[in-house]
Symmetry: C2
Subunit: 250 residues, 2 copies
Amino acid sequence: MYICGVMTNQKIKPNLHTVLTPQLLDLYEIKDSIVVIIDVFRATSTMATALYNGARKIIPVDSPELCIEMGKQTGGVTAGERDGKIIPGLSYGNSPSEYPRSFIENKVLVITTTNGTKLLHMALKQGAKDIITGSFPNFSAVADYLVQQGAPVILGCSGWKNRFNIEDTLFAGAIIEQIKDHFTIHCDSSFMANQLYHQHKDDLTQYIKTTTHWHRLAAYGLEADMLYCISKDTAPSLPIYKDGALVNGL
Amino acid sequence: MYICGVMTNQKIKPNLHTVLTPQLLDLYEIKDSIVVIIDVFRATSTMATALYNGARKIIPVDSPELCIEMGKQTGGVTAGERDGKIIPGLSYGNSPSEYPRSFIENKVLVITTTNGTKLLHMALKQGAKDIITGSFPNFSAVADYLVQQGAPVILGCSGWKNRFNIEDTLFAGAIIEQIKDHFTIHCDSSFMANQLYHQHKDDLTQYIKTTTHWHRLAAYGLEADMLYCISKDTAPSLPIYKDGALVNGL
């Protein structure tokens, strides 16, 4: 039949949803989805940068104690900050600028973050098909991967202590802007995220300065870090979670 | 001291936060706050309308069974819909158009809704100072009350089955636009809500048609209802929760 012919010629587009904070993750169908962990300031930006610069792998952990322990086990570089300072017992901070190729190439990075790592472990527990991390520095690598895979997508914003934040939502919106023709989107969170990005894509630097997280980190003198974290494609890499660590899938 | 003088002349502005879905309510300090329950399509729009048209009180309940029971106890009008149809055993639906003065004046309305009633009971349990309901039809009454009270405010969006929705967030943004000079706001949810409203205040009718809830309700032929629900100040009333029911505080 003609109608059937038309139907079979149409590709069914997989669903895409945006989860605004980890506390909302359980409302979504995670199983069989690719979950993109987004923590723009600064965990996933730093991860993309370290892998781009040749880190062998990154082990994300959720406590300083485990970071120290895993650092010993793997001989890796330990990293983590609280309130803008390196956590006692660890060696490095959360800034992407700390991980140039000359330092991080071929090393293992063990990093403790609060929001992003928590979301990653939640997605793992809920049976995600694949987990990757996304940030502006590896924007196109993420967008290309999602289109190539053709599987359902969850854009997971790490937020701030389970609350909504603007910078992670902006990144989700940027990804949606890029790949929306390839997905079925019936989700107000995604519409809002896309619209927020669309409205501000040409004044992202000014806009980001209005967010609560900018003010929090600017108080520690981290403006240059944050400007790097909203720059697209400066660290093309695809951090993908395999056997307990993020490796570069590119 | 001069500095002290300046300080004491400055009024400390109370905090205002926006809670994007009921599932995020526990992240906020509810005690001593005024919580505004927002369920634009259509529970809180209908409540404002019924009280404006002289309903004696509204008893919000979270199940059809309780609605029937409370209807018997109070001799009230029972109301509730699922999937665009009146729930079997109840007498009326969720449309504001069903409650003109000629029908509802001096009557008790017992109404069951999913999202809004749930949030109201959560706010009650978490010790809210006051609970009122907000919608575009009673927009100015809500804004004026919040400014007059000078207490911390939680704008509580009912969302859709705990997920974020655009229409409730738009109303929160409209309230923020109106009263922001009277409050301290350090909250990305509020910034985003305000911006969403600010961007669309002149094309609200077109914009609302892009939301998931519009499509859901339009399938039941409820377009006129929804257009009413985004019209400002058509039913000036202040539904305030006292002794188990909403009464008109104006």
